[in-house]
């Protein structure tokens, strides 16, 4: 019983991080109709920024959070300008596929640059708050995990407010739902694309800082988060921000429970099996919409 509760607690924590990663995917898919395979590399960049601030200046992870968000935002805009924008609207070229590959290329370059600059050895970053909190008898959670979940949830709430209340936030949803109408309203589409890439990348960068003290920072630190984000994305269906968040928590919980009952080794394969079954029943994921996915 206590172990189940423990699994649920850790599932909720990882679910928050997955949500942070995948919401960015959904935003990009919603507006640009492609996937950003460089989001994993943003986890990496966020992690290294936080490590450099810590080892070089002695700054804690919270300061790193802000810096990493800013740096990855800029990276996101650059990726949009260099790797995605030139592909938009080319006749005879499948944008979805080429942008998928070009962002993948960016991910390769960044991961190997990290390898060249920082070497293969993992870098350790301390937790935001050390120690554990005992919830009930036999169930405890590290303070850092709580901070992780807290920051992630705060970010998601902020994102929700941004999207539904602010001028450019509404602009993002408008571009996602009806591109022509958005342009006729005077919404500068390229700027919205930049913003979307920037915000998504910053969210992944923040995830990178949070994960840094759990898994250390290494050149392939972005691979697993990317994989998990992809799994959540297929499972949820890239249809809506809300759906993605729900899917992230379901996957986080499933993973924790599978690890508990079958062992960690089986968490990915069983998860994959679950997703295959979901895809057989609903080819556009749990919350995806049949024709065009919308935010």
């Amino acid at each position: 019983m206590t172990s189940t509760v423990q699994a649920i607690v850790s599932g909720l924590v990882t679910g928050s991080i997955y949500a942070l990663m995948t919401v960015g995917m959904t935003l990009i898919y919603g507006t640009l109709r492609t996937l950003n395979m460089a989001l994993g590399a943003m986890v990496l960049v966020g992690g290294y920024v936080s490590w450099m601030l810590f080892s070089g200046l002695g700054w804690g992870p919270l300061a790193g959070l802000v810096a990493a968000a800013a740096v990855t935002f800029v990276f996101g805009v650059l990726i949009q300008q260099v790797a995605v924008r030139p592909l938009i609207g080319r006749i005879g070229v499948d944008f979805e596929m080429t942008a998928f590959i070009s962002t993948f290329a960016v991910a390769i370059v960044l991961a190997n640059l990290a390898l060249r600059i920082y070497g293969a050895r993992s870098k350790a970053v301390p937790p935001v708050i050390a120690g554990r909190l005992r919830l009930i008898e036999g169930v405890s959670v590290s303070w850092h995990s709580l901070v992780m979940a807290g920051v992630a949830i705060a970010m998601l709430v902020t994102l929700g407010i941004f999207l539904s209340k602010t001028r450019y936030g509404l602009g993002i949803s408008a571009v996602a739902q009806q591109l022509d109408a958005a342009r006729l309203m005077g919404i500068p589409v390229q700027r919205v694309y930049n913003l979307t890439m920037g915000v998504s990348s910053a969210l992944a960068g923040i995830a990178g800082v949070l994960l840094a003290s759990v898994f250390f920072v290494s050149p392939n630190a972005g691979d697993l988060p990317l994989l998990k984000a992809l799994i959540v994305a297929i499972f949820g269906g890239l249809g809506s921000v809300r759906g993605t968040i729900v899917a992230a928590y379901i996957i986080g919980l499933l993973e924790a429970l599978i690890s508990l009952y079958f062992g960690v080794k089986w968490s990915l394969p069983v998860l994959f099996l679950v997703i295959m079954i979901v895809m057989l029943i609903r080819p556009t994921g749990l919350f995806g919409k049949p024709e065009e996915a919308r935010l």
Partner: protein, 234 residues
């Protein structure tokens, strides 16, 4: 206010507009009629920058705007209410309207404008929290009109406001359009035929196969039986 010179546009190999010269004076109402599929919608989309012209010029308020980005043109006060309304389906009525005030100048006064629009279209006010995709056809048309009224329009372009609506609803929509016209706005209106605009004091252009083939007042074209029979089949 608006002028096009020898405007050409095409989709791939298909040429849609083949040299359109039209001008809309300040405060004037111009109605473009013509059979479906002959370029009326493309004309509006080319003017507002959604379609890049292959040749020719577009001038709006003494500025050349062909080749400009649609959002720049829209922010300059050219309001285009597109065919089929194109609502933001998963957003609420209120969010749809607020987006109509996206340009910086309009954004500041969005609450007052929202109030005005709800005054004009009370039905939208009642449904302000409802998702746009759940609206009826008539309500969607009102939403599209309302969205266009959310910012300062130096000129209004409306694409087939009668499309797909029941006659009763069309009459209601046109009551609103007539009210807008009376406020003195410059208007370029596209319709398939003259049946809804007979009371308008307007210049009419007949667009056929990408060219303007006839021009006159509503009454003149109405009286011209060959035009009505040949082009509009009435």
């Amino acid at each position: 206010m608006l002028e096009t010179r020898n405007l050409h546009a095409s989709y791939g190999q298909t040429r849609v507009l083949e040299g359109i010269d039209l001008s809309v004076g300040d405060g004037e109402v111009v109605i473009v009629i013509g059979p479906n599929g002959h370029g009326k919608t493309t004309l509006l989309r080319t003017i507002s920058g959604l379609v890049a012209p292959s040749q020719g010029e577009v001038w709006f308020a003494d500025e050349r705007i062909d080749g400009a980005r649609p959002d720049v043109i829209a922010s300059n006060g050219l309001v285009h209410i597109p065919q089929g309304d194109l609502p933001f389906g998963d957003m609420t009525v209120e969010e749809n309207l607020v987006l109509g005030a996206f340009p910086a100048a309009a954004w500041a006064s969005r609450s007052e404008r929202l109030k005005d629009v709800f005054g004009i279209f009370p039905a939208l006010g009642e449904r302000r929290g409802q998702r746009a995709r759940t609206l009826s056809g008539g309500e969607r048309r009102m939403l599209a009109l309302g969205r266009g009224l959310m910012r300062e329009a130096r000129m209004l372009m409306i694409d087939e406001p009668s499309l797909g609506l029941a006659p009763v609803i069309v009459n209601e929509v046109y009551r609103h359009i007539e009210r807008i016209v009376r406020s003195g706005v410059t208007l370029l209106l596209v319709e398939e035929n003259l049946s809804h605009v007979q009371t308008f004091d307007a210049r009419v252009l007949l667009l056929e196969s990408g060219r303007i083939v006839r021009e006159g007042s509503v009454a003149e074209l109405q009286a011209d039986e060959t035009v009505m029979a040949t082009y509009l089949g009435t």
